[in-house]
């Protein structure tokens, strides 16, 4: 389980200025912030805008365009479950149904602070699906019990 430090604007500032020399620095900066704090706090937007000489709207627009970036602290555990075609062919929809029915885990429900199962489309493991990714670890031939266990849910 990943534990992130609370947002620290000074630390954020040093991350932003440390990467601002890169060509097209916005995404590397956003990734670095999210890696450090688990999310990108909206209070960093004016800072990035100023350092990279962009409008705030540009920076906000970039953050909101991409599925990866979060603007609020993440749940403790995020399991990404592939629901693209090859995993569909291997029954990922059944996994989603069983997670709800047997384990009370609703995919893409961000209500919980503990664990969230999120939909992604293809993890490049299409011959060994259903596939999931948790904290950088790829899981093949996944089923609902396994995913629920990864979420730390009681069986």
């Amino acid at each position: 389980m990943v534990h992130y430090p609370a947002w620290d604007q000074d630390e954020a500032r040093s991350i932003v200025s440390g990467l601002s020399h890169l060509e097209g620095a916005t995404l590397p900066i956003l990734h670095a912030l999210q890696e450090e704090f688990g999310y990108v706090d909206p209070q960093v937007v004016p800072l990035i805008a100023e350092v990279l000489n962009l409008s705030r709207a540009d920076v906000h627009g970039t953050i909101s365009f991409y599925h990866d970036f979060r603007t609020a602290p993440p749940p403790r555990r995020i399991v990404k479950l592939c629901r693209a075609e090859a995993c569909q062919a291997l029954g990922c929809d059944t996994v989603v149904e069983e997670l709800a029915r047997e384990h009370g885990i609703v995919v893409d429900d961000h209500g919980s602070q503990e664990a969230v199962v999120e939909t992604v489309y293809c993890l490049g493991n299409c011959a060994l699906g259903p596939s999931a990714l948790i904290e950088g670890e790829l899981i093949g031939r996944a089923n609902a019990d396994r995913i629920a266990a990864l979420c730390g849910a009681r069986q």
Partner: protein
């Protein structure tokens, strides 16, 4: 002490997904407990994914494969003398004799699974860098001509001739040119880019460096999707090693020509695979598709001439430079020259990566190599070419893997991914999903795609519910035509392909009596 026995345990993400790390640890533990000296090499995957983790042991008779190995098998394997290549229930025999591998024509993937992906010495020992060395002895124009003559077409999906793209950038004059590798690999059913980046990252680096030398570019970026953390690690390490060895940097292999290479992570957006959207993303913006012209070859990254190619396109180039354009062009059929790394996935018994000359039929791949469905039920539909590709019927599987042959049956090859479905699939649901995916992943720039996809979901829902079916089917066909004709890029323009193929080939799924509503008491 005698020489350590070399044991290969793949570090490919797919192998890791079914326990390869635990296997490597168990083997190390057992070896130590028995005082057997072993060197565990973490190689790429040979692509027999249903046999992962597939472990290989180096013996005097060559490398012997065992698989699929679980951590709990380690003790019994040593018991049986697997470290000497001895018999055990999991023994598959000499790797080079495995039917699945023997049938392939591996050019791009020749080293994947064979070498230690992060050893530059191993890379060199297996003919690595020969292409770049040759390129450094040629003029830019000569390199471009070699690539053109090979007949190589972009492996990312559109199949545009790589040599012509390179020539455009070569002929453009500019203070700065860029080489961009499209490693977004967003298509469902595709994983060849990932396997190559994890299994032979120096090959991609070499291919991009050759491109840079050819057109006079000094900076390059690999735009990698964030869903590939293992490939990210492999590329980062490989680039660092390449730089330390003088393969990248101010003077590539002492040639005086500079090339700097960096990996950049995407952020979970399928549209970033579209090249202009990818460039916007690299520039730090919302990834909204650009209208073409201007083409990226003339005005690409930061407005400068830019080569954008897929991982496999770059990775094919070192072989072409090493062995000559003609040797490459001798593989293939028609206007599809060379080899195609096919990715077989979904409901299939033996899924994985198969590199073959263009022209093999889908049936040979799915039935002979793949062994049919994993569930053992009949094949009903096969989607080729990713989420924007057509669904084919079992009767259409004699079509060869070739850009034109597939276009001839209103399908597409795309990035070479094949996804197999058995007869439990509901094709109306798959058509709905195609629209849903397009609606979620659309960049939003143009109306037919942004609004059309959402309307498409609603229409399919009405049809499934049996609501004014004939009328809504007509509207659906109309909408598909509009999206095909009026979308700015292939996201909106090709979403009708899976939808219409589902509708045309599997109409019965759109014409069932609507599902009974549950009695109120049960709700």
């Amino acid at each position: 002490m005698s020489e350590a026995i070399r044991i290969f345990v793949p570090i490919d993400a797919a192998a890791l997904s079914v326990g390869a790390d635990a296997v490597a640890q168990a083997i190390a533990r057992e070896a130590q407990a028995r005082s057997v000296a072993v060197e565990i090499v973490r190689n790429g995957s040979r692509g027999l994914l249903w046999l992962e983790p597939m472990v290989e042991v180096e013996t005097l008779e060559g490398r012997i494969a065992y698989g699929p190995v679980a951590a709990r098998d380690a003790a019994a394997l040593f018991e049986a003398g697997f470290h000497k290549g001895d018999v055990h229930a999991l023994r598959l025999g000499p790797v080079d004799e495995l039917d699945w591998l023997k049938r392939q024509q591996r050019l791009t993937f020749e080293r994947v699974g064979v070498t230690d992906p992060l050893s530059l010495a191993d890379y060199r020992a297996h003919d690595g860098l020969k292409g770049l060395e040759r390129a450094l002895s040629l003029t830019g124009a000569e390199i471009v001509e070699e690539v053109r003559e090979s007949g190589l077409r972009g492996r990312g999906g559109a199949g545009f001739p790589t040599g012509i793209k390179w020539k455009t950038v070569h002929d453009a004059s500019a203070t700065q040119k860029y080489i961009v590798c499209n490693a977004d690999e967003g298509d469902s059913g595709t994983f060849a880019d990932r396997m190559l980046m994890e299994g032979d990252p120096f090959l991609l680096i070499e291919g991009m460096t050759i491109a840079a030398i050819a057109v006079g570019a000094t900076r390059g970026y690999i735009y990698l999707r964030s869903e590939y953390p293992h490939a990210h690690k492999a590329l980062q390490r490989a680039i660092l090693k390449a730089r330390n060895a003088g393969l990248l940097g101010a003077s590539v292999l002492g040639s005086g020509k500079a090339f700097e290479l960096e990996v950049r992570l995407g952020a979970g957006a399928y549209i970033c695979g579209e090249e202009t959207s990818l460039l916007e993303s690299l520039e730090g913006k919302r990834a909204i598709v650009r209208a073409k012209p201007p083409i990226p070859a003339l005005q690409g990254l930061f407005g400068k001439p830019t080569i954008v190619n897929n991982v496999l396109s770059f990775a094919a180039v070192p072989w072409i430079l090493t062995h000559g354009a003609k040797a490459y062009a001798d593989y293939g059929m028609g206007r599809s020259r060379g080899t195609l790394p096919v990715q077989l996935g979904g409901n299939v018994k033996r899924g994985g990566l198969i590199e073959l000359a263009f022209g093999i039929s889908l049936r040979e791949i799915i039935e002979d190599m793949g062994g049919g469905t994993l569930s053992g039920r009949p094949i009903r539909a096969v989607q080729v070419g990713g989420p924007l590709g057509a669904y084919l019927t079992a009767q259409q599987l004699d079509t060869p893997m070739d850009y034109e042959a597939l276009a001839g049956i209103k399908a597409m090859l795309g990035h070479g991914g094949i996804v197999v479905f058995d007869d439990s699939v509901d094709m109306a649901k798959q058509a709905r999903f195609a629209f849903e995916f397009c609606a979620k992943e659309s960049c939003g720039k143009c109306t037919p795609c942004r609004i059309g996809a959402t309307r498409g979901v609603e229409l399919v829902d009405k049809i499934i519910a049996g609501h004014e079916r004939p009328k809504n089917l007509a509207v659906l066909r109309d909408l598909n035509k509009l999206m095909t004709d009026a979308s700015l890029c292939a996201m909106g323009g090709l979403t009708p392909m899976p939808v219409m193929s589902a509708l045309n080939h599997f109409f019965e799924d759109f014409d069932r009596p609507p599902a009974e509503r549950l009695p109120l008491a049960a709700e």
